[in-house]
């Protein structure tokens, strides 16, 4: 009993396969234009893919593979969509909005309203029932939108950055609410926020350029990023290249010494295979002159930016960054444009196949 999708949209260079188990929540992450919203539109039936198929719990959503293509209309799919904007129907009251799904399925008015009150209670918005959407704050409206989506009893709940349009005070409240309601539900949530992925999702799927580039349990993906995008999300430095005995060699020929991460791969690696060297900014030291000593990585970089990061200063140099104390920064007299040396102990660098 799963949701399974395999779809291609040629015009957008989109080709994605994925499955979602019952009661599983999957986070979709990826840069802008990676195809995240396309994915939800295809699942909801708002966009017609060129090839592929999808089914949920044995029900065919679409099947374009066989000789006789089949297509289930959006309203018969059971895939409620919650977007960035609440999109509450402005001419209906909050209660009528939430009752919209049950009413559309033919539930009698009284029962639909009863269900709507129950769902409003579940999202802590029972007292808003009689209001018009225009009389709600952004956070209230999005909570009502959650209730409306849940009241439709979807087999798969689709959430497209539900927190993105909320201010920083309203977002945590909705996040806690979603954690409760998604616990027992199958859902796909698009997010840019690592916190959402960690808190709400069991698994994360990374989309880049219309393709799945990484997938796995959220914690694993974030701890062992294989792409610069995920490394950025996780706040880690990532250098890509080919694997060598002691680490990774970049395309430019630079050697990164590190520890082969053998916990899951049982130590097996093939030299010359694509791999990455990953290290946290806190493991990077900054010197004005080249430092040597075993076994260290030391290389010159041009400082591009300095910014506060917690109680540290983050020194950015292109794609790499180092976290140092403000005192150290002052001692070194750092300023953008300076050339400095980044020094990382080999023991702090994780190396594994990409």
């Amino acid at each position: 009993m799963t949701f399974r999708l395999d779809a291609a949209v040629e015009a957008r260079g989109f080709d994605v396969s994925l499955t979602v188990g019952p009661a599983e929540t999957v986070a979709i992450m990826g840069p802008n234009g990676a195809g995240k919203s396309t994915l939800l539109a295809v699942i909801a039936g708002l966009l017609h893919p060129d090839a592929g198929g999808a089914e949920v719990d044995g029900k065919i959503l679409f099947d374009l593979a066989g000789g006789r293509p089949s297509w289930t209309a959006p309203h018969l799919r059971g895939t409620a969509l919650l977007a960035q904007e609440p999109l509450l129907f402005p001419h209906l009251t909050v209660l009528e909005n939430v009752a919209f799904g049950p009413r559309s399925k033919g539930v009698p008015r009284r029962e639909a309203r009863k269900a709507a009150r129950r769902w409003l209670g579940a999202v802590d918005a029972g007292e808003l029932a009689a209001r018009r959407p225009a009389e709600l704050s952004g956070g209230q409206a999005q909570r009502v939108a959650v209730a409306r989506a849940l009241a439709a009893d979807p087999q798969l709940l689709l959430l497209d950055e539900p927190m993105a349009a909320l201010d920083i005070h309203a977002a945590p409240l909705l996040r806690r609410l979603l954690k409760q309601v998604l616990a027992e539900r199958r859902a796909i949530i698009i997010t840019h926020d690592v916190l959402d992925a960690l808190m709400l999702a069991d698994r994360v799927i990374v989309l880049e350029d219309g393709r799945v580039t990484e997938a796995g349990p959220t914690r694993d993906v974030l701890q062992r990023p294989r792409s610069r995008f995920v490394a950025g999300l996780a706040g880690l430095n990532l250098v890509a290249g080919t694997l060598t005995e002691h680490g990774v060699r970049t395309a430019a020929g630079q050697e990164f010494a590190g520890q082969h991460d053998s916990a899951t791969e049982a130590g097996a690696f093939i030299p010359g295979q694509a791999g990455v060297a990953v290290f946290p900014p806190s493991a990077v030291s900054v010197f004005l002159t080249e430092a040597h000593g075993s076994p260290r990585n030391s290389f010159p970089v041009a400082v591009t930016d300095l910014e506060p990061h917690g109680d540290q200063i983050r020194v950015r140099a292109g794609d790499l960054s180092a976290d140092i104390t403000p005192a150290a920064s002052a001692d070194l007299g750092l300023a953008p444009g300076m050339t400095v040396f980044f020094v990382i102990k080999a023991g702090a660098v994780s190396v594994y196949p990409a």
């Binding site: 309203h75 904007e85 799904g101 009389e135 952004g138 005070h169």
Partner: protein
Amino acid sequence: MAALGGLLVLLPVAAMAARVNWPQFIPLITSESSLTALGLSLRTSAASTALCIILGVPLALVLARATFPGQRLLRSFVLLPLVLPPVVGGIALLYTFGRQGLLGRNLELLGIQVAFSTAAVVLAQTFVALPFLVVSLEGALRTAGGRYEAVAATLGARPGTVLRRVTVPLVLPGLASGAVLSFARGLGEFGATLTFAGSLQGVTRTLPLEIYLQRETDADAAVALSLVLVAVAVTVVALSYRGPRRTGTAAGTTAARATGGGVQ
């Protein structure tokens, strides 16, 4: 400049009101020919508004929601009566529905005669008023956007339900103001009616035609009737301004979302 613009509209109306023969006002506007013309104007404008809705709603839907080759061209043609002198519209209608006209010849064979009938007045009014309805409604449809409809569909609403419970209520204010503007335009229609429908008391002589004719002999009656027409038009337009208030609350929603998000 704004004041000058307002004056340009207000002053002539005020000047006209000043010339009204007030002691005779009621007898002038309640003469048999005046009442007949007013009644005919109201009836034909109502009929042409209904026709505008029947023809204009599908047209606006197609223009706002579909994409097809020639769409821009179609929109330009729909808007044509807005910029055409009404007399030209009347001539065009004459060559379409007239006795010798493109369709009129065939209608004649079926025993239907359009020219010199009240139907001709309604046709002329519909011709000039249709763009007002289509433009307002298309605007409303675009503002409402397809996103509410998409959400409704994912919540399990059939296309018919979406139309009935989401699309129609959302565009109703736009439809209402479009209908009111069409009605007002039909009420004021003169040139196309004169050219195409003729002028006969109780059949084709609407209020503007009556005013034009009264002016020949009885300026007082013409001025009094003009004021009646202004009063009716102002009432109708005032009614239509209750429409956009709904759109205003939609804008208010966005504002509330932007400012009131922190109030939980």
